[in-house]
Symmetry: C2
Subunit: 731 residues, 2 copies
């Protein structure tokens, strides 16, 4: 096996260099040279000085007296949980402040807190509110314990030289070694698992090994408990990211997983430079850092799968990630993102970055259209990110054609998200969870995460017969990945196409989404064709979860005098059925809504008798756990193979401050579909009479020719698609 | 009559000075000296240069060819309406740019556009979509025509010296005089009305008189059509603002009304300085400008009555208002507000302000607790603004104890609004209207403005027997004003109390609200006692319209499996009845919610069997005109005299970015009421055992002594209230 041979070679090298660890501290994220650099040049970066001063103020306040070190009692969000979390971070902060200010009281703070933990830790059994699978001692789950150690070991490293031998012996003997042992040999099921919880564990244990000079910890961290490379950090690097740096649970967990990866890798780079860890697998760690940036809009991550929606680029994980990436690449566009973060971690890398920002070296970060392949070798579908325009207000469209994404994955194959003018317009609900809010189910995932947020109808994709994809089985979902048919991006157009087989027994579905410039006045038009392919009749629902206030509709819906849930199960029980508009075969249904001063118009064709159903989130929610929202559901009561053809246009402006409204009607007034042999021509005509034809064969083969008759014209093209701008209404 | 005598005197003086108008242009908002000052010193204000450059870019783009001057056709929001609006502003802009840049093309732009209007105007009859009461010619309503002239006359004034005699004759003879005649003698019902539409008309006509040197227009503008001072600008100044500068329709219309007042007053100041217009009525115009600032939170106006909620300090009206106020006062705290506006009008006053801001002269604007008396002589109730804390995140509470406020008034006596951390927390729906959005009922007030937004249940105040105040009759409402009982503000406490008689036949109600510092950890506590006084049994509802997500409740409510409207009429038909919690006599109902990272806890006493009803906005809304929202309604099914005693606490922080939660439980754990002879002691105990007693007699007489027994203690005090901090739980 190729991977095994490579790993074996690396094991050899680490053995050779294990004894060569420099006898200096700090040695994890900073070197003594970094410390000297900061101390000498700190005045060159006012923003770093500001963060340093703020950190001092915070720490000084916190250490007015020795912080409480309570016996473990509470689960996540509770007092002892939050207290220990903060203490762990404080150990790192005080140690770092000691290095950067030279003030001994900071070293004493760190030492006293470490000693307090050293006194308590040996007596702790398992946590009274332990999670069964992964119990901790200080915390309810060992994950938090590993995170604690990742922070605390940095503080210990920082004050190592300040401590006398006896104190070191106490801290290492009673706290650091027992904790590292507990996190490694004490729970092999986590430590050797190829999973982000495992990464936290190996990072904590490996960093501890570096600081206390015990290579056995380092070796376990890098190659797994039995040292064969089938587990451990390098194996995780090989398996947990796709070749494009995509993490298979999605960006929310990618950010979380990234932290131990980059922090530990930075320590490995310092202590085992011969491993060239940042070049490992064609530089996958750097790709993963960049991916985090590219998987965001308006500084927030695309909230696919289980995601807390307020997470974004300003998180501490990305502060570490960006500073390390900048240190490795010198890429000035990273400074653009870092400046938006508004604060810095206190490392040498971050200081270099802050200094460069303050010196005005910033260049705009280029947010581009990118396809992120999923899966270890990149063959398990992809997340497609299409972007048009520049800056904060650009348009972005995300097509989720990834693999299931383990236990945090949602049943949302080929769902999409759409952003414009800095806002989410067609959105993903994210997770049903109030993280760290104890009153809300202890801060855990809420029951509604399963009954609503994961279900297909909670997303912007096809639901067949009111059943979720794979009937809601994650293990089944892991067996079936979408296939990408096309992905292209050029100045005029961005296009992605994918097909999904296996989400339903006898229904496949294919979706092609195009962002087309030059049709509407002031935005790229989104054209969306979703085709369900089946030999048998089914009910097809296509939800559109949108933000904003409806201002106009082509059909007056029939409102229900009382509201009932839209269905019994699979998420439908959480939707109130508000109104229904009946669409006759041949109709085109249009709706305009207003969000944050911008208008959005959605036009969709109804080739058969169908319905536009209006729904609101909130039914069967006795504890007010669900967040208000609305959806338009296009419902086709019975069809076998069927295409949803829709156009979404962003237009105009409502300005309340200056009291004007422009462009409140969409430019596209006609949408038609002409179809032959499975190929389509979508005909678009604007209010000024401009005609655009979008021909699509859905056949990636560039060599095959297709033709569709549009009135008296025969449209002929080769390959997946062609855009024909006739410049006027030709007939 | 005193007012008449004064007016007569002023008429005398204007007659004397009418011939003395300087023979210079411009002469409205700027003088030739102002122009020279800007031209010579513009480089001293980069922000003014920026606005100047932006305006040039906008105007250059707009005048790439002569703008369309279409025949009037559309109502508000439509093409011809918006086009004429923009053309009027463009005439002013181009004229001003000519003065400030000296580039002749700008003068030509203004001239050509004025000539185009001169050609069209004489042929226009009434607008094809005219408003019956107040038809316009260029616009559907004459109000817009007056606004057009207020702008256009400034442009004409700016290029007056540039034009030859023949051109002036054409513009004045075919456009300015006919329009001024139409707006004055042509529609006396508006011109002589004491109303903001009248102010726009007199401003337009008066400014035209100054520029074309025709004193008859000026006289009509100042003293009404027949010149007796019973109408006209001075009369409007006497009647439309309260002595505190409060405008009786509320801040949204105050801003709108302010524009013609301040712009015309500035022109009067230049042309008839002997009128000392800004000293008129003890400087009421300056008070009105300051009031606009003080009637806002986070730069948005308190949205009481018919109000579009995105209106605030950044509007053009306040740009004029602030620059003029700064010119008159030199008050540097105004610069703080002006800086937030982000842009400037192009006048000499604004230039002085911009230069001062750029020179760093800004001082923080002091947002204070203020009582704004309503009514011409200040005897028709008041709007109370209580504030605690400083800066963007301070707490504010507004008690609406004003008079009806004419046709735009809502039926919301003693309703309140609460703000914290930059957000509205307990809110007012404002108007049901999408201004300028033609698809929404032509941009007019929606039918739901009457059926929902004006109704009492849409506000945070008492509803008796599901009937609105005054049974929804504005004329009846004008007959009954609230009475202010107390208003005090000091470092520890802000308090307001008011009583309302006449909103219901046999129910009066009194409300006292206190912001009390030093009880909760990190905010002032709001204590709210609303007492309904009646000899007969009624159903009492007290709604609380709040922003955020419920995270905990003391009582598990019973959710309805299907939603029905909460009632039949008076706004209740627009509320879905979502859930009900039954409260037993003696219970205390508590609810915590989370909004934008901050927790809010509301605790209310249930001395009798009652209910907490949960409702959502949106029933009977076939056109999706209503904006989603929720309310808690405390419902007492049957009582005569009854007190709602509630406490609202802002606390803690949820930080999603850095993943921590602090202070998610309220500090106040006990709320009790002890009552004797109509006086109350509210007993508050915090989780740390601190006890505070708030004694209230509701009797403004400082000399009367009151006493209430609390357990074994007799609490004795004089006057309306007393706060007793016992420092611990005494019993």
């Amino acid at each position: 096996m190729k991977t095994m041979a490579k790993t074996a070679l690396l094991i050899g090298s680490v053995l050779l260099t294990a004894g060569c660890l420099a006898d200096e501290h700090p040695r994890l994220l900073m070197t003594p040279a970094d410390v000297r650099d900061i101390v000498e040049h700190v005045d060159e970066s006012p923003s770093f000085v500001r963060v340093l001063t703020e950190t001092q103020a915070t720490v000084d306040g916190y250490f007015a007296e020795l912080p409480d070190v309570p016996l473990p009692r509470d689960a996540g969000g509770g007092y002892t949980h939050e207290r220990h979390k903060r203490n762990g971070i404080s150990i790192m902060q005080t140690g770092t402040l000691f290095l950067l200010t030279g003030e001994e009281r900071y070293a004493e703070y760190a030492r006293d807190l470490l000693l307090a933990y050293s006194e308590m830790y040996p007596s702790l059994g398992e946590h009274p509110r332990k999670k069964e699978q992964t119990p901790g001692r200080l915390f309810w789950q060992s994950l938090n314990e590993a995170m604690w150690l990742v922070y605390a070991i940095q503080g210990y490293d920082a004050i190592y030289d300040y401590l006398d031998h006896e104190t070191r012996a106490a801290i290492e003997g009673d706290l650091l070694r027992p904790m590292a042992d507990f996190l490694s040999v004490g729970q092999p099921q986590t430590f050797d698992k190829i999973h982000n919880h495992g990464t936290w564990a190996v990072a904590a244990v490996g960093m501890t090994g570096y600081v206390i000079g015990d290579d056995s910890y380092v070796r376990k961290a890098l190659y797994g408990l039995n040292g064969d490379g089938e587990a451990g950090f390098l194996r995780q690097l090989d398996l947990l990211f796709s070749p494009d740096g995509y993490y298979n649970e999605g960006p929310y967990y990618q950010r979380f997983a990234l932290m131990p990866f980059v922090v530990f890798a930075r320590a490995v780079e310092l202590n085992n430079p011969e491993l060239e860890i940042f070049r490992h697998r064609d530089g996958v760690l750097l790709k993963a850092i960049y991916a985090c940036i590219d998987l965001s809009y308006a500084n927030l991550f695309f909230p696919i799968n289980d995601a807390i929606k307020d997470k974004g680029l300003a998180t501490v994980e990305l502060r570490y990630g960006l500073s390390i990436a900048y240190a490795l690449t010198g890429d000035r566009t990273l400074l653009d993102v870092a400046r938006e973060q508004g604060t810095f971690v206190l490392t040498g890398d971050a200081f270099s970055m802050a200094r460069a920002i303050d010196a005005g070296d910033v260049e705009p970060y280029p947010y581009n259209s990118i396809l992120f392949r999923d899966g270890t070798v990149g063959d398990r579908g992809a997340l497609a990110v299409l972007r048009h325009g520049e800056g904060h207000e650009h348009q972005a469209l995300v097509l989720k054609a990834t693999a299931q994404g383990l236990g945090h994955g949602h049943f949302d194959r080929l769902s999409f998200l759409y952003y414009d003018q800095g806002d989410e317009i067609v959105y993903d609900y994210g997770a049903a969870r109030f993280l760290n809010v104890e009153q809300k189910y202890g801060g855990h995932y809420l029951p509604e995460n399963t009954t609503w947020a994961k279900q297909t109808v909670a997303h912007n994709t096809l639901v067949v017969d009111e059943q979720s994809h794979f009937d809601g089985s994650a293990s089944e979902g892991e067996e079936h990945d979408p296939e990408i048919l096309i992905f292209e991006s050029n100045a005029d157009l961005q296009i992605v196409g994918a097909i999904m087989n296996g989400a339903y027994d006898d229904v496949s579905f294919r979706r092609t989404q195009v962002m087309l410039d030059g049709v509407a006045a002031d935005s790229a038009l989104v054209v969306d064709v979703l085709t369900a392919l089946s030999p048998n009749p089914h009910q097809y629902d296509l939800p559109l979860h949108f933000r904003g206030q409806i201002v106009a509709m082509s059909h007056q819906p029939e409102s229900n005098a009382r509201l009932e849930p839209l269905g019994e199960d699979n998420g439908y029980q959480h939707l109130w059925h508000r109104a229904t508009a009946d669409l006759d075969a041949g109709d085109s249904f249009g709706m305009t809504w207003l969000n944050d001063g911008r208008f959005y118009s959605y036009t969709t064709l109804a080739p058969v008798d169908s319905q536009a159903v209006f729904a609101e989130i909130g039914a069967n929610d006795p504890n007010f756990n669900l967040i208000q929202g609305q959806a338009l559901i296009l419902r086709v009561p019975e069809a076998d193979t069927y295409s949803f053809v829709s156009v979404l246009e962003s237009h105009g402006e409502y300005n309340g401050t200056d009291e004007y409204t422009v462009g409140n009607y969409p430019a596209v007034t006609t949408v038609e579909r002409y179809s032959e042999n499975g190929a389509d021509v979508i005909r678009l005509v604007t209010d000024s009479g401009e005609e655009t034809l979008l021909a699509m064969s859905y056949d990636p083969d560039a060599g095959t020719e297709h033709s569709v008759t549009v009135g008296t014209r025969e449209i002929i093209w080769s390959g997946y698609y062609r855009v024909i701008r006739t410049g006027g209404v030709a007939e």
